[in-house]
Point group: D2
Chain length 416, copies 4
Amino acid sequence: MIRESIIKDAALAPEGHRKIEWVAQHAPVLRAIAERRLSDGSLRGRRVAMTIHLEAKTAYLAVLLREAGAEVTVSGSNPLSTQDAVCAALVERGVRVFATHDPTPEEFEGYLMRTIETAPEIVIDDGAELVSRMVLHRPELLQSVVGASEETTTGVIKLRAMDEEGVLPFPVLAANDARMKHLFDNRYGTGHSSIASIVSNTNLFLSGKVVVVMGFGWVGRGLARYADGMGARVVVCEPDPVKLIEAHAEGYEVMNSLRAAEVGDVFVTGTGNLKVLGAEHFERMKDGAILANAGHYDHEFDLAALREMAVSEREARANITEYELPDGRRLHVLAQGRLVNIAAADGHPVEIMDLTFAVQALCAHHLANHAASMRPGLQPVPREIDELVARIKLDTMGVEPERLTEEQLRYLRSWR
Amino acid sequence: MIRESIIKDAALAPEGHRKIEWVAQHAPVLRAIAERRLSDGSLRGRRVAMTIHLEAKTAYLAVLLREAGAEVTVSGSNPLSTQDAVCAALVERGVRVFATHDPTPEEFEGYLMRTIETAPEIVIDDGAELVSRMVLHRPELLQSVVGASEETTTGVIKLRAMDEEGVLPFPVLAANDARMKHLFDNRYGTGHSSIASIVSNTNLFLSGKVVVVMGFGWVGRGLARYADGMGARVVVCEPDPVKLIEAHAEGYEVMNSLRAAEVGDVFVTGTGNLKVLGAEHFERMKDGAILANAGHYDHEFDLAALREMAVSEREARANITEYELPDGRRLHVLAQGRLVNIAAADGHPVEIMDLTFAVQALCAHHLANHAASMRPGLQPVPREIDELVARIKLDTMGVEPERLTEEQLRYLRSWR
Amino acid sequence: MIRESIIKDAALAPEGHRKIEWVAQHAPVLRAIAERRLSDGSLRGRRVAMTIHLEAKTAYLAVLLREAGAEVTVSGSNPLSTQDAVCAALVERGVRVFATHDPTPEEFEGYLMRTIETAPEIVIDDGAELVSRMVLHRPELLQSVVGASEETTTGVIKLRAMDEEGVLPFPVLAANDARMKHLFDNRYGTGHSSIASIVSNTNLFLSGKVVVVMGFGWVGRGLARYADGMGARVVVCEPDPVKLIEAHAEGYEVMNSLRAAEVGDVFVTGTGNLKVLGAEHFERMKDGAILANAGHYDHEFDLAALREMAVSEREARANITEYELPDGRRLHVLAQGRLVNIAAADGHPVEIMDLTFAVQALCAHHLANHAASMRPGLQPVPREIDELVARIKLDTMGVEPERLTEEQLRYLRSWR
Amino acid sequence: MIRESIIKDAALAPEGHRKIEWVAQHAPVLRAIAERRLSDGSLRGRRVAMTIHLEAKTAYLAVLLREAGAEVTVSGSNPLSTQDAVCAALVERGVRVFATHDPTPEEFEGYLMRTIETAPEIVIDDGAELVSRMVLHRPELLQSVVGASEETTTGVIKLRAMDEEGVLPFPVLAANDARMKHLFDNRYGTGHSSIASIVSNTNLFLSGKVVVVMGFGWVGRGLARYADGMGARVVVCEPDPVKLIEAHAEGYEVMNSLRAAEVGDVFVTGTGNLKVLGAEHFERMKDGAILANAGHYDHEFDLAALREMAVSEREARANITEYELPDGRRLHVLAQGRLVNIAAADGHPVEIMDLTFAVQALCAHHLANHAASMRPGLQPVPREIDELVARIKLDTMGVEPERLTEEQLRYLRSWR
C-alpha cells in the first residue's frame, strides 16, 4: 500500500531547498513552536497527510512535522499552485509527495486518492478535499483517522454541512476560524498577495482604476484595503446589507454588481461562491476589463458562459487569457480563474503563513495528544493555541502587551 | 410621584429646536422606522425612560417615541454632555426632562433617581445607570419594568455581571452588540468625532504627531483609523496579544504603554477600563502632551494621581486643563478626562446615531410587543432588527445588495 | 495722525492672553527666530503694519515684532476672522489695533485706511489689501514704505499684475511662495483645518460621503487629502488638464463640475477664483448639499445667484445658512461662503503658522536691513530664509538631515 | 558602417510580439499621437537612435516611430533590463537592435557605440548615455545630430553640467522635466512598480514593516506613497531640510540614515546619488534587512564595501543576493542593486509609459520639424507638448476639465 512519491523532476531539488530556506528565515513563530512543542515526541511515527498549496511555506511545515518524527504525505490542493522544485526538495527531506504542477484532472484526483490511501491518522486539510473523499469514497479509511484540521473558510462551510449530516466520525478543528489564522491569512495575506500578483502579471497601473471587489468577508476586506493602498477607487458588491454599509463607511463605493460591471476596470472575487460574475456581467463590461479570482475555487467566474460568448480565446500575456466578444470587447482572465495569488505568484506572504502554519502545527500536536478525549465533529481551535501563537509572535517582535492590574481586572468584573 | 421637568432655561428652546431639526434632516432611517413601525400604536401610553447623552440626536429619538404615544422621561448619562437648549426644546415637545449641563454630583444623582421614580416600563439605558440604580436602590420599581435595552459596551459588561448574579428580573437587549450599532457607532462614530474634537479644541496639527491609542477594541480601531487619516503616526497599546498583532498588520506601531508614554504627542483612551494612564505614564510624558478620553467614564486617566503630582493646574484654553509638573513639564487634559467628543463637541455624527437610534427604537418597540414572552436577563438583539435597519439604510442610499441565486444558495449548503 | 486702537471690548483681554500663550507654547520656530534674529535691534522703532486674520497666531507674531522694538499696527484681513478677545490682549501688549469682529463694510474699510495712515515702513500684507489701497487711494504714503511681504496666493497674483503695470515703487517679497510657507500653510494647513471645521460645524459623518474639491492647487490638494483621510470619496474639478490627471493618479475621481454637482454631498472650493459654483451647479445639487469655501474671498460661490433662486433663507445651525429652492431642495452654506476654517473655527493649526510667521518675521527683518539695496517690485523670498526656517524646525524635532559627502557632491556635478 | 542587429535569439519573437501587443492595447495616448502627429511625414527617413530600457513599452515607441517612416536603432540603457524576446520582435518589425540581456560590460559598451555609429539625427537618450559618448569619444558624429531628448533626472543633471561646459552643439529637450513625464513616471510609475517588485520578488509581507526611503524627490515620494499603501511604516532620509519637513507632514517618520539603518526592515533608494547606503549603514542593519534600489544606477549602495565586509555571498532566491556578515547577520540585496522594478520585473506600468513616450514621440517630432530654429543646449519641452498629451489623456478618460469664463479670466488678471 505504501507508495513511492510522484513528482515531476528530482533534479529541481536545489531551487526548492533554496525557497524553503528563505521561508525558514522568515518563519520564526513556526520555528519556535517546532522547538518548544513538536519536539516532545508526540508526533513521532504518526501518519500525517496534508493537502495544501504545495509551495515553499507549506513545505516548511511538512519538513518540521517530519523532523518531529511524523510520517508525512503531501499532495497539492490546487492543480496550478504546486511548485515542482519544492516537491523535489521535500522528497529529499523525507516527505512523501504526490503532486506535479498542472496535472490532468485524472492525475490530480489520483494524487489525492493516493494520499488518502496512506491511511493517515492526522489530516491537515484544505477545502475538505481529503476528508470529503474519505467519507464519500473510502469510508473504511476513516477509522484510522484520529482527527483533522481545516485550513479554509470554504472547507469549514463544507465540514459544517457534513457535521450536520453526522458523517464526521472524528474531531475536526476549524483552524481557519482561529483568530491568528483568519484575521491575518484570509484578510491581509490574500489581499496583499493577490493585489501584488495582479500588478505584476498585468504590468498595469492600479492607481485611478476602478477595482470591483466581489464579497466583503475577510478576503474581500483585504482585497479592498490593498487595492485602495495602490491608489485604486474601490467598488464593493456584497449580499449582506450590514457588510455593505461597513464598506460604505470605509469610504468604498457600494453598488449592485450589474452596475459595477459597467464601471469596473478590474474585478476581483473573494466570495467562496460560484458564478458571482456571469454572462449578464460580461455583457456589460468595458473593453480590456481584467478578471482575477482570490476565492477558493475557479468557480467564481462563469467561465463556461464566457467561453460560449467569446469568438476567440488566446494567451495575451503569461497568465492572462484574452476572450474576445462578438462586439470586439476583450476580457482578460488571470490564471484561468484560479487563485491569482497562488496560481500566478508565490502565494501568501511568508510571515502570514508563519502564523497560519503555527496554528496548524499546534492543531496537529493537539490532535496527537488529545483527540481521544475530544468529541467528534467540527469544533473550534482551543483558545490556548491562538494565545500561544500570538504571544510568540509578539516575542519575535520584541513587544509586550499591556498587563491588567488586579484593580483593573476587578473593575471589569464589577457592576456596583 | 409624577414630577415636573427640571431644566436650566426654557428660553433656550428655539436653539434646541433648530438643532433637533438639523438632526431630523439627516436621520432618514430613524424617520422611516417611526413611520413604518412606531406608528402601530404599541408604544401608546407606555412609560419609557431614557438615559443617554442629552443632545440633539438623543432628543430626536425621544421626540419620535413621544409622537408614537409613549410617555417619555429623559435624563443625561454624563454631567458635561447635556445641552440645555436641547432640554428646553424637549420639554416643549412633550418630553419630561431631568437634566442640566454640569450639575453637581448630587444634582446628577437626583436626576437619575427621579427618572427611575417614574416607574418606567421600558428603559433605554446607557452604562446601565438606570437599571443598576433600580436593582441597588429601588428594587420595588423593578416589577413595573417590562424590559430594557443597553447602549454601550461598558453597560453590557456590567449587565453581564448582573445577569450572572441573577439580579435581572426582566429581559435586557444588548443593543450595543447589534451589528448595526457597534460596527458603526463604536468604531466609526467615536473615532470620527473624537479626532475632530481634538483637532478643533486644540487648534493643533495632527499630521506628523505621534498619537497613542490605548485599547484596540472597536473604539480604538476607529480612533486609530481617523488619527491615521489626519496624518498622525499611530501607536497602539492593548492587552490582547491577537489584537495587538492586528494593529501591527494595519501598519500601526505597537508597544507597551510605558514606552509609548515617552514618544507620544497625543494620548487617546478607549478601553472601558480605569487608570490606563497613571503616574508611571505621566512621569515619562513629554512637555505639552495632550490627553483625551474616548472611553465611557472619566476613569481612564488617573486624574487623582496627576493632581497630586502637579504643582499647578489652570485652564489653558477652553476645554483644556494644564497640569504643570515639578520639573516644568505641562500635561494638557481635554474635557477633564470626560468623553472628548461629547463633553467638548457635539458627539457622534448624526448619520451614525441615525443607525444606533434606529436599533434602539426597534428594541423599544420589540419589548413593548414581545417582552412578556422573552426570558429575563441579557440577550442579543433579534437579527431581524439589524437586518431591517441595514435594508432601510441601503434604501436611503439607493443601493441594492447582491441577491443570491437558488444555485448559489444550494452550492453554499452542499459539500459533495 | 497717530490714532488710538479701535477694538470691541478691552475686558476680553484675559481670554486673549490665554489663547496667545497657547500659541507661544506651540510655536518654537518663531520663538527661536525672535531670540536669534529679531533681537538684533534692526526693527527697533520701525513702523510695521500687518493685515492678517486677527486671531491668536497672528497676534503672537505681532507681539514678537513689538518685543523686538517695532511700532506695530494691525487690522483684520477678513470681517469674520477677527477675534475680539485677541484684539484686547494685543492692545495690552502694546500693539495698536484697528479691528472688531463682524464690522460693517464701512467700518472694515475704515480700519484698513487707519492702518495705512500710520505711514508704515514695513507692510505685512494679506491679499494685497494694504498695498493696493495705498496705490489706489493714498499714493503719498508709498514713499515711507521701505518694503512689503505678501501672505497669500491671491495677493501674489494681484501684486504680479500691479508689478507688470509698474505701480510698485518698493520691494515686495512673495512670502506666500517661500517653500516653507506654501508647501505647508496652503497645502496641509488649509486642508487640515477646513475639513475639521466642516466636521465640527455640521456634526455630520464625512466617511462615505462624496466630497467635491474645486481646484487642485496647493489648497485643493490639502482639502482632498484630509477629506480622503476622513473616509470621504473625493471628486476633483480643475481647469488645468495636467493637475486633473495628477488628481486621477492619486485615486480621486475627476470630472467636470456640472456632473460633480449632481453627485456631491459636500462641495469645498479652493480656487482663488470667483463663481466657481454658480446657478447651473445649484440647479443640479442634491437636497442637503453642504457648501464650504476654503479659498481666499467669499466670491467662490455665486451667492447672489443662490439668493435669487431661493424661496427662503434661514440659519439652520450656527454658521450654517440654509437656502431653500423652489423645488424643496435645501442647500447649506457654511460661514456665509467665507473661509470655513477661519470664519467658523480657529484657523490654521498653530504649528503650521509657526512656519509661516517665521518666514514673515524673517521677511520683515530682511526688509528692515536690506530694502535699500533691493530692486522695487515683486520678488522671491531669499533662499536663506527658507533654509533657516527649515533647519530650526528640524532642530526642534531633533532630526538631522543627510549630509552629502564631498564624493557625493562631486558626483552630482560630474557627467564624464 | 550600417550594421546588422545583434540580439540573443530571433526565435523568441512571438512572445515579444505578444508583449508589445499588450502594451498597444493600454497605450491609447501614444497611439493617438502616432495617428494625429507622427503620420505627417516629418519623421520619414530620419535616423533615430534610442537608448532606453528595452522592454515592451519602449519597443512600442520604437515601432510607432518606425511606422512613421524613421530608421530606428535601439540599444538598452541597463544591462539587466533588456528583454530578449522583445528585441527579437523589434527586429521583425523593422527596427535595428543592438542589445542582449545581461551582456558583459564590453558587449554593453559595444552596443552603445554601434548605436552611435549609425550617425543618428535624433537621439532619444536615457542618462545621457549616447550623447555623452558622442561628445567624449566620437565628436565627429555630433554634426549629424539635429537634436536630442533626455528621459531621466540623472541625464538632465549630467546634461546641465555639459551645457555649462558648452559641449552641446545641438538642442536637447529635457523630456524628463515635462510635467506629463516626471509628475507621473518618476513619482507614481517608479513607486508603483518598485514596491510591487519588492513584494513579488521577496514573497514577504510589507504591512507593519519599516520601509526606509532614501531620498524624497519625485521618486522617493512615490516609493513612500506605495509602501504606505501596502501597510508599511515609512521612514524618510533626505538632505534637503524642506523636503524632510514635507515628509514629516505627510505622516512619515523622518530621521538620519544612521539611525534609520538600525530600525529599517526594507531600504529603498531613489536619490540619483552614489553610496547613499554604505559600510556605516550595513554595520547597523538588522539581520534579514532587504535592500532595493529604485534610482538610476547601481551606485546607490556601496556594494564594493558590502562585499568586502561579507564572509559569504549566495543567491538566496531568484533576484536576491544574500551577504553574510562576520557576526552572522544576513543582508539581502535585490537585483544586484540595479533598478528593482526593471531588472527584477517588467518596469513601469504601461499607462504611465504611455504618457512618457507620448512626450518623447512629440519631442522627436518637434526636433524633426524645428531643430534648425532652436538654440543649442538643454531646454524645456514646449508647453504645447505637455498640454497636448494631457488633453488626449483626458479624452481617453472621457473627462472634461473646467473651462474658465471670460469673467473668471478677467478676475484673475485684475487687482483693483
